[in-house]
Amino acid sequence: MSARRVREWPLAAGLSVPLFFVLAPFVWLLLSSLKSEMEIAVAAPFSMPDRLLFENYLDAWNIGGFGELVVNSLVNVALVVGLTLAVCAPAGYAFAKMQVPGGEAIFYVVLLGLTVPIQAIVIPLYKVLSALGLLNTLAGISLAQVGNGIPFGIFMMRSFFRGIPDELIEAAKIDGAGHATILLRILLPVAKPAILALVVISALSTWNDFFLPLVVLISPESQTLPLGLVRFASTYSTEHRLVFSGTVVSFLPVVVLYMLTQRRFTEGLTQGALKG
């Protein structure tokens, strides 16, 4: 790299300063979430709590109904990831390796969706969900999120399958395998990089989505974590200890999951972003 000449430890020490500023909000939230209301008001921002008030978390969890929010978010992510894979893998395979009547034109119409911001189509989308009786349901929001993610998913799977030699597929056909068998038994097992990228990107964007839930999920029982936290934070805006601990509950699981899987996570995100 550019810097075989730059020495590791001085640079690492220098980088710790910006890193402190980047991570300061997390540290401040963690510390403050364990303080009393009084301490939050008067003590220095990064002081250690007098006593670790874990009951702040218990209170926030119960008052904010975070259990329900987490379950809703998990169901939402599972539906979106599962359905996205289930429809994009076969479609990507078909566009890459099968003769689709009008395939090229259809593919470009799908690609068009890559450039359409979700906010630009929200008015009719709301009406469609309403007409199908899917407003205020996790099924409805998941379908809308899948629909919005399909252009990327198909593009991703198609690029991957195009890289697989035709001879492999011809050989399987001679052995009497149909397209479904080829896809399930031969291609999916080798498509791990593409699937990883698709899973990471669709899971993260669904877990973090705020715009669609805001418009579609009106009643608290059906809301997902980010929306629920925002509602909670505005309802209890003066009880800082609750808002702080609720906020930590909202980001900590993903942060921990990311740290545990950071290599695959990074690979998936980078590959996905570069292909998309």
Binding site: W28, M98, V100, V116, V122, L125, N208, F244
Partner: protein
């Protein structure tokens, strides 16, 4: 499209393969996109009202609306800020950590942490950071004896766009950093060696090897940052709702207000068309530019 494995039976089963995806895409993306175009030419107001065709009148009304002018200008400011702050931080940290060996993964992982947090949660966090009384920022300024720098970060109309953008860019820079890191790994090491032999210093190597080597990634990051900026919504919605006095209103937040609060669906749809056109223009322009670099 490759047709090497094509037969007639293929054509039939291919429809089964793409059918489900097309159905969901058609119902929840393509149809709404086309219907937005139709709505933009009507005077639709409520969610279930009878709408009449009005041609381009909605676009005329938007052009005459001073708030829309402000919203477009602020959206442009927002995009520039995001490219500079998030893109700039991404580049700077990528270049710095790329020259690390043993601590590379640690710094890459740590700097990326904000990006896994939902923008809505980021909004809640930074609203607290900017809180005039309990906030981290003013509290820290006090602690360092810099109390005179305390500002109403979210209440000052001249400052609010910048303040919220810092929050969004804090969350956003991680992905740009990863893309730059990937780009840096593709630069041929022998170029650096050659530059060193020619007596180039750190800055000269950066200027004449790193920057040209990153050109393609850079166009990609800038276009991604512009698109992400254009879609920016959650932080503004959570932190300011577009206020004070529309001074942090963006295209996206104004669309939601027009459509769901003011029930001005026709005009909102026209603004949606503008948003979509901007996103497409950015994508097409940057794809052309990137191809011209190859």
């Amino acid at each position: 499209m490759r047709t090497t494995t094509g037969t007639k039976a293929d054509a039939v089963s291919s429809i089964l393969f793409i059918g489900p995806a097309l159905l969901i895409y058609g119902l929840f993306t393509l149809f709404p996109a086309l219907d937005t175009l139709r709505l933009s030419a009507t005077d639709a107001t409520g969610l279930n009202s009878q709408a009449n065709f009005v041609g381009l009148a909605n676009f005329g009304a938007l052009a005459a609306d001073a708030t829309v002018g402000r919203v477009l200008l602020q959206t442009a400011q927002w995009l520039v800020l995001h490219v500079v702050l998030a893109g700039g931080a991404g580049l700077a940290f990528a270049v710095a950590i790329a020259s690390l060996a043993r601590t590379h993964v640690f710094f890459r992982t740590a700097f990326f942490l904000p990006h896994v947090v939902s923008l809505a949660v980021v909004g809640v966090i930074w609203a607290k950071i900017y809180d005039p009384y309990f906030g981290l920022l003013n509290g820290a300024l006090d602690a360092f004896g810099l109390g005179m720098l305390k500002l109403g970060w979210l209440s000052d109309p001249a400052l609010v766009i910048f303040s919220v953008n810092v929050a969004s860019s804090w969350q956003g820079f991680g992905i740009y950093m990863l893309l730059f890191v990937a780009g840096l790994q593709n630069i041929d090491n022998s170029l650096y060696e050659a530059a060193e032999i020619d007596g180039a210093g750190v800055w000269q190597r950066f200027r004449h090897v790193t920057i040209p080597g990153l050109r393609e990634v850079m166009t990609f990051v800038v276009s991604l940052a512009l698109i992400n900026g254009l879609k920016g919504f959650a932080t503004i919605w959570v932190m300011t709702q577009g206020g004070p006095f529309y001074r942090s209103e963006l295209l996206t937040t104004y669309i939601v207000k027009l459509a769901f609060q003011f029930q001005e669906q026709g005009r909102a749809a026209a603004l949606c068309v503008v948003l979509c056109a901007l996103a497409m223009a950015i994508t097409v322009a940057f794809n052309r530019w990137r191809e011209s670099l190859r």
